[in-house]
Subunit: 285 residues, 2 copies
């Protein structure tokens, strides 16, 4: 596995590969790899000839007061894990390599990004779309893999790729969960022992709500309201939102229009998100 | 010359060329070709193996009330002129091919685009950067050519390409002028005979101001103020702005920091822009 820190070296390596006809896959990450990240790397390895993983804690997707400084980092371990997965190139630029001091150009997705997490994190998705545009332009991947846990991020990226005609196929990987159902996240590290024990009730509440919606005559607002109460009681946290949305992350009024139930939970100092796909019937998403 | 209306056909053609190692040049235009456009096509022909010209009157760079509907169009003549210049592919999509009805992703350049024309046309450059991002992603050119007449547009594009890491070289072509100095523009068509006769005094006023700035002890604000008065008296129009700016289009306070003098003039119903490069000494820019 090559470890590369400069854009120019990535470009040179990719140009060489592309001229040899290789199909390149990209897995963008902020590092501190868990099984969720590794599963995305495996998807890329299966679908592409050459897998690039980017590791960059992107400052512009954090608001002041969010956990940029404390975001967990372990580059040595990440290097080791990526190597074991058969990743071909790990692109780990520093901040200076990514952003000019007077950088002034941003990608604004103005619809899919506005609800759910976009309400409490108004500049978050602009940071995500901007850094991904840069990564797409540097790596020029044929495909890029994202997890379904961040369902709104996935849908914002799909919309951006469609709207801006990026020649990149967006591949979605299923959410990887702990045995008790908690979706893997680098932020789970922040949970106290007691919070960790109660955290799976976010997912259980979403599953229960999805089952309730499938009942004949289910009333959407009521289902969401009792799920909110249930999750708050069982976790001891605060539900920031629990919403029934369509594929474009717009809130729906009727159970029959719902594609996903998505929620964010503030549990102590940790903000957790999760979602279930109500259409596949596979509530494990 | 190939005339292509669909993105998918452009992509197929470019993929074929690139796999054969061709260097691709792009000249983005809104059509109604004049010698300025043709000079950009010649630059691309010299620097690239294969020249794509795009012809698309981009609705999202016009504000309501601007001249989108009346913008001059003559696709038959354009086809003929491009063919004569040896253009390899003319990409002339319709609006539906370019924008989905619910398109929601835009490129926002937040610094270089804000002064000068950005003051009176607040969404203009966002329309320009968005359509260019799409064209870059569809055509994947190695270089793209833009005229220096739209100096702010050129600098916004350079900033965008740097900030978003587009693998495209931006090449600038000199402003092409009528014998009396008027910069070529599709919008010159709107001028009455009398307005046309007086329009070159915009450029003359900019040249005179640049010469005045080169004098020892020149006082910037005074030079700009008398240039404004002079241009308004000679043309009978209204100067929207006349500004001394640096390479990032930020207004400067001292003559020694000035890279360009740029102006916009409202002459009857027509809005004209022009600029001179005060550093090259070549005031014909």
């Amino acid at each position: 596995m090559k470890l590369v820190k400069s854009k120019i070296e990535v470009r040179a390596e990719i140009a060489r590969l592309k001229s040899a006809g290789a199909r390149v896959g990209l897995v963008p990450t902020m590092g501190y790899f868990h099984e969720g990240h590794l599963s995305l790397m495996r998807i890329s390895r299966r679908q592409a000839d050459y897998t690039v993983v980017s590791l960059f804690v992107n400052p512009i997707q954090f608001a002041p007061g969010e956990d940029l400084e404390g975001y967990p980092r372990d580059p040595e371990r990440d290097l080791d894990l990526a190597r074991k997965e058969g990743v071909d190139l790990l692109f780990a630029p520093d901040k200076k390599e990514v952003y000019a001091p007077n950088a002034s150009t941003f990608i604004e997705e103005t619809s899919v990004s506005k609800g759910l997490c976009g309400q409490s994190r108004p500049d978050h998705f602009r940071g995500v779309t901007t850094v991904l545009t840069k990564l797409f332009n540097i790596v020029t991947p044929d495909l890029a893999v994202f997890g379904r846990k961040d369902i709104q991020q996935l849908m914002v990226i799909r919309r951006m790729v469609r709207d801006l005609d990026f020649p990149v196929e967006i591949v979605a990987g299923p959410t990887v969960r702990e045995p008790d159902g908690l979706a893997l996240s680098s932020r789970n590290l922040y949970l106290s022992k007691e919070e960790r024990r109660r955290a799976p009730d976010l997912y259980r509440g979403l599953q229960a709500a999805a089952r309730a919606l499938a009942e004949p005559g289910a009333e959407l607002a009521g289902v969401l309201e009792s799920a909110r109460r249930e999750i708050e009681r069982n976790t001891g946290g605060q539900v920031e939102y629990i919403s029934a949305v369509d594929n474009d992350m717009a809130e729906v009024k009727q159970a029959s229009d719902c594609s996903y139930l998505a929620a964010a939970l503030q549990l102590g100092s940790t903000r957790l998100i999760d979602n279930v796909d109500v259409n596949t019937g596979d509530l494990s998403n």
